[in-house]
Every structure is written in structure tokens, then in C-alpha cells.
Amino acid sequence: MLGCLACLSAAALTFAGCAVHRAPLVAISAPEVQALAARPGARATLVNVWATWCPPCREEFPALVRVGEKRRGQGLRLVFISVDPEDQLAVVRKFLAARGVADTAYIVTGDPMVFINTLNPRWTGALPATFVYNGRGELASFWEGAADENRFNQSVDQAIATR
């Protein structure tokens, strides 16, 4: 019980007890993100760049998880990429576990400016940032700032329609 309390306190979690993200947490560069989006097997890939310390990122996270779960069967690949520093990996894992993320998640690696400009030169670096790719790995939509479930769904619909 004490362990659970410590866990909740450290990660500012609200539920899921002491669950820890058991899926891999993998370093990723921008070209690898693009390659991942182009990998066969998905009709659309939604990439969300976030951080545990970013309030709007945390706010939109549950909606993203819901969209990912509901639309996985329709061919949506949901990719979470954290920009948290390496010394915060434990916090990232706890955050992901508390929100039910069981798939592989990612941590940005390399020069942030290169990462930003490679994913989209129009991205200013503000968080959160969302990129939706079609099944060929072509960027269909991008925006900065938090969004709701409706917008996520619409952007996925659009990406799937551009196949």
C-alpha cells in the first residue's frame, strides 16, 4: 500500500495503482518516425509528440488513447513520442501505464531542431504536436496544441480517405 502511494505521488497519477508500463520505451529519430508511418500494416498513423510536464498534453491524452483503441481494428496505428529527458523515463513509464498504453512508446533522440524540422518545417516546437499520416506514410494533417476526440477522428478519417 505504501508502495502504491509513493508511486501515485511520484507520477501524479490518478488511477491504475502502481501499474508500470511494461511495453518497450524506445528512442526514435525523425526519419525513424517517418519510416514507422510508412511501414505496411496500417491505413493511418497518428503520431502524438508530448511530455509528462505539458498540461495540454496530459489533457488530450485520454482522448487519444480512446481513439487508438476504438480504431485499431480499422487500421489506425497510434504512436506516442515523449520529449521528456532521459532522467524522467520512470515518470514516463508510470504515466503511460496509468493511461493504459500497452504498446511500444517512444522517446525523442538526437537534435531537437532536426527532429522538429524533419517532421514538419512548419512545426514551431510547441507541444503537444500531432501528425497524421496516410497508409503510404505521407503526412495528411498536422497541428500544434491540444485537440479533442472529434478532431482526432476527423483527421484519421481524412488520412484514410487519401490512400
Partner: protein, 213 residues
């Protein structure tokens, strides 16, 4: 620089490094940011500073140039760089470059970004330049500023010559490219800025509702 991958499990299937074309038809929702060479908008708009005095960008302008820093109090990214902002800003003032730090965040969203906390922060950091409230967030909108910290540096003629990050590393001991410090030195010397645009991650500005003016 985060380059090591010691936390990546070895069994993870490596992703292909094939280059993918990507942005040609994308619908983007990115703001129009002030372009290099542009002049500062809203130069005569009065903003309240932590010293209780109102000031405009025109008031803050220096003979050699003007440095506008969009920042706030709550953002961990700002906290990582605020000491360097104070250091470069105070040095800029001594070189004849006017400096103003601007907080455009809505304190209703982030209580730590209210005036009381701004006063404490400016005092703690030893700012020798104004730290003001963009009370409508319209200055940030006019600049196209989206996150904190975000830097805009104008030369003696009022032209934007540098936009972007303070430097290239959250850890000050690991900085290799001190972009802002170099840009300020160039502006103070009347020389061209070598690197005009850079980027970094940052906290999205929490804009207030649009003003009616």
C-alpha cells in the same frame, strides 16, 4: 544531446530508415510567425511590468537593438533556460540592446503565471530588464509566438534578425551552440547574425480569449 539508446530493448524490431516524402499535401494548422527582416508589431501597446510601471516595446528598444523573450513561470522548459535568459538579457542591456521579457499565458490556466509569481521570478533571477504581462495574449498572436521560451531579436533598424531558441541544450554544461548569446553579440556590434532561425521544444502558450479590438 540525447543520443544513447541504452533504454531501448534489443529485441525491438528496428524501423527502416527509408526516407519518406511527407509534407506536400498535408493540411497544417501552424501559425504565421514573424519573418526574418520584419519589424516588431504592436510597438506602442502598453504592458504592465513587475515594477508596477507600464512599458511598450518602443520604450524598451535599445540603440543597438531589441530582444523580446516570450517566457512564463510554470513551464519546465523555461525553468531550464531562465538562468541563461537572465544572463544573456542582462548582458544585452549593458551592450545597448533593449530587453523585455513577456508573459502571454493565461494565469487562469496556470496560476504560477500570475503577476505575483512574475515579480518573485524576476527578483530571484536578477532581471535588469522589464518582465511584463501581455494581458490579451495579442502580442504573442501578432508575433506568431507559440511556445515558451521563444526569442525574437531585432537589430538597430528594428528588423528581426534572430528567432528561436536560447541555445541547443537543456543542460547548460552541454551547450555547443549558444545561438542567442552569439546573436546578441552580433547585433550589438552591428554585424549580421550567423544563424537567424532555430527551434526547440517548449510549452505551448495558453492564449487568453481573443480580444475584441
Amino acid at each position: 544531446m540525447r543520443t544513447n539508446r541504452r533504454f531501448a530493448p534489443l529485441w525491438v524490431v528496428p524501423v527502416t530508415l527509408a526516407a519518406v516524402a511527407g509534407t506536400s499535401f498535408a493540411q497544417t494548422d501552424a501559425p504565421a510567425v514573424l519573418a526574418i527582416g520584419a519589424t516588431a508589431p504592436m510597438r506602442e501597446t502598453r504592458m504592465m511590468g513587475v515594477d508596477g510601471k507600464e512599458i511598450t516595446l518602443a520604450d524598451a528598444a535599445g540603440k543597438k537593438g531589441t530582444l523580446v523573450v516570450f517566457m512564463c513561470n510554470h513551464c519546465p522548459w523555461v525553468k531550464a533556460w531562465q538562468g541563461r535568459i537572465a544572463k544573456v538579457g542582462n548582458a544585452a542591456v549593458l551592450k545597448g540592446v533593449g530587453v523585455v521579457a513577456v508573459n502571454s499565458n493565461d494565469p487562469a490556466a496556470y496560476p504560477e503565471d500570475d503577476m505575483a509569481h512574475m515579480k518573485d521570478r524576476a527578483k530571484d533571477l536578477g532581471f535588469k530588464f522589464p518582465y511584463v504581462v501581455d494581458a490579451t495574449s495579442d502580442l504573442a498572436r501578432a508575433f506568431g509566438a507559440t511556445h515558451t521560451p521563444e526569442i525574437f531579436l531585432f537589430d538597430a533598424k528594428g528588423k528581426l534578425v534572430y528567432h528561436g531558441a536560447v541555445d541547443d541544450n537543456k543542460d547548460e554544461r552541454s551547450v555547443q551552440r549558444p545561438w542567442l548569446m552569439q546573436a546578441v553579440s552580433s547585433v550589438a556590434a552591428g554585424k549580421p547574425v550567423a544563424t537567424a532561425e532555430t527551434k526547440s521544444f517548449g510549452c505551448g502558450i495558453k492564449f487568453r480569449g481573443k480580444s475584441e479590438s
